[in-house]
Amino acid sequence: MDLENQQRVKDIAEKYPAEDIVVILGGAEAQSAKLMGDTVTTGDPTFAGPLAGVQLGLTAYHAVEPQFKDAVDEDVYDDQIGMMEMVLDVDEIIAAMNEVRG
């Protein structure tokens, strides 16, 4: 997760309680989803950004996970994410995100 986005997440997490925040991720690979997920939960695993060593413990889902998909308007989802859902390795991403959430 780039440094600016880490800072944005950090700022939001300072403003609102963690239980009121859900982070929706959009990485195209399981590995990058895992890295981003880890960044907003246990801290930046690359130790390069503002979230290095900062355990926000936020809840994170990837945009192709059913928890997110089922919670949003089906037509809008198909329109905005449907195409990517077809080309991404959804199972691998879900497995990675389950790992992130422990």
């Binding site: 440094l3 590995q31 990058s32 890295l35 695993p45 690359t46 130790f47 390069a48 950004g49 503002p50 290095a52 060593g53």
Partner: protein
């Protein structure tokens, strides 16, 4: 036992200062851990503690090598650490070069055990792997999770003065150091075992890995060859008759510098080859076959090249170490440049 003191070196990116736009950041030192030092410190546990972090921009370091290195050394020395760690640099080229350079400097000039880590294809790896311990990492910071334990494991061994294992055992890059050891089985058996594994398509580990040579990329094309001064360099051993410098026929320990002004063509009366390992009859009968003075004089007359440089350089490539060849070329390349040579044709046997 009190905790040992460690100083850590990172670049501007891992310090959270910024990316490329901040790469001219001058060396600075901060007390305690910054960036990846958080992870390293946790992995060092009760044994050691990062007491300071030196930060330098990658571009700044590479464009001000001597000043930056001196500044970093001064910062490190002030803390009198028991160990120095740089990186990990993964596949970031200038970061790798900087990490390798400071690790070497700290270890050689301050006498402090030092270690760094990067990806095997990082340019810094080839430049410094024979000088310092470079722990192997993946190619991006996404592999930080694996890099940290590998780096701290070797770092702790260095700190405790424990014996360092082979590159495979301790996950660092080969340093070109040979160490004697007692093998359980004799060489012939080990060789046959390897051959059988190879024939079966099974994995085996060679005991004699081939050296990895660097790649030399050609310079941009000469813009106008008709105006260019062309030099000749050969590893084919063409020397004036009698081999005045006594260049060895194998494993040459020197190169020669010879004047060809006034020569339109080389003949068996004037030149010969000093090169061993191949049948010299044809090179001796017509030395232009190896060092094409005749053809270049023709091109010079026809105006197809600007001129032929009046000095050529020769050595014998047969069994000559790459490191020696590189050393010779570094020396005479400077002369060629000083003499205004625009391009060089290198010929072998």
């Amino acid at each position: 036992m009190s905790k040992k003191k460690v100083v850590h070196y990172i670049n501007q990116f891992f310090a959270g200062i910024g990316g490329e736009e901040k790469a001219d950041h001058k060396p600075e030192v901060r007390e305690g851990v910054v960036g990846p030092g958080i992870g390293l410190n946790a992995a060092l546990g009760d044994n050691a503690e990062i007491i300071a972090t030196v930060i330098c921009g990658d571009t700044y370091f590479n464009e001000h090598l001597e000043e930056a290195e001196a500044a970093v050394l001064e910062m490190v020395e002030k803390y009198n650490p028991d160990l120095f760690i740089a990186g990990p640099a993964f596949n970031a080229g200038r970061y790798g070069v900087a990490a390798g350079a400071v690790t070497k400097a700290v270890s050689e000039k301050l006498g402090i055990p030092a270690v760094t880590a990067m990806y095997v294809e990082n340019p810094g790896a080839d430049m410094y792997k024979s000088d310092v311990y470079i722990v192997k990492t993946g190619n991006s910071a996404a592999t930080m999770g694996q890099a940290i334990p590998a780096l701290t494991s070797l770092a702790l061994k260095l700190l405790k003065g424990e014996e360092i294992g082979t590159p495979d055992e301790d996950n660092y890059m080969e340093r070109g150091i040979r160490v004697n050891y007692f093998a359980e089985e004799r060489g012939s058996k080990r060789a046959v075992d390897m051959l059988i594994k190879k024939l079966k398509g099974e994995e085996f580990v060679t005991e004699y890995p081939m050296p990895a040579f660097d790649r030399v990329f050609p310079n941009p094309a000469v813009k106008d060859i008709t105006k260019a001064k062309i030099g000749l360099v050969t590893s084919g051993g063409i020397v004036p008759k009698g081999n005045p410098d006594k260049i060895e026929s194998s494993s040459a320990s020197k190169y020669g510098r010879y004047d060809i002004s006034g020569f339109d063509v080389l003949t068996s009366e004037t030149h010969e080859t000093a090169h061993g390992g191949y049948d010299p009859v044809y090179a001796n009968a017509d030395p232009n076959r190896v060092l094409p003075v005749d053809v270049l004089r023709d091109l010079e007359k026809e105006g197809k090249i600007g001129s032929l440089h009046n000095i050529y350089y020769a050595t014998v490539g047969n069994g000559t170490a790459v490191a020696s060849a590189k050393k010779y070329a570094e020396a005479f390349a400077k002369e060629l440049v000083a003499d205004g040579v625009d391009a060089v044709i290198t010929t072998s046997t």
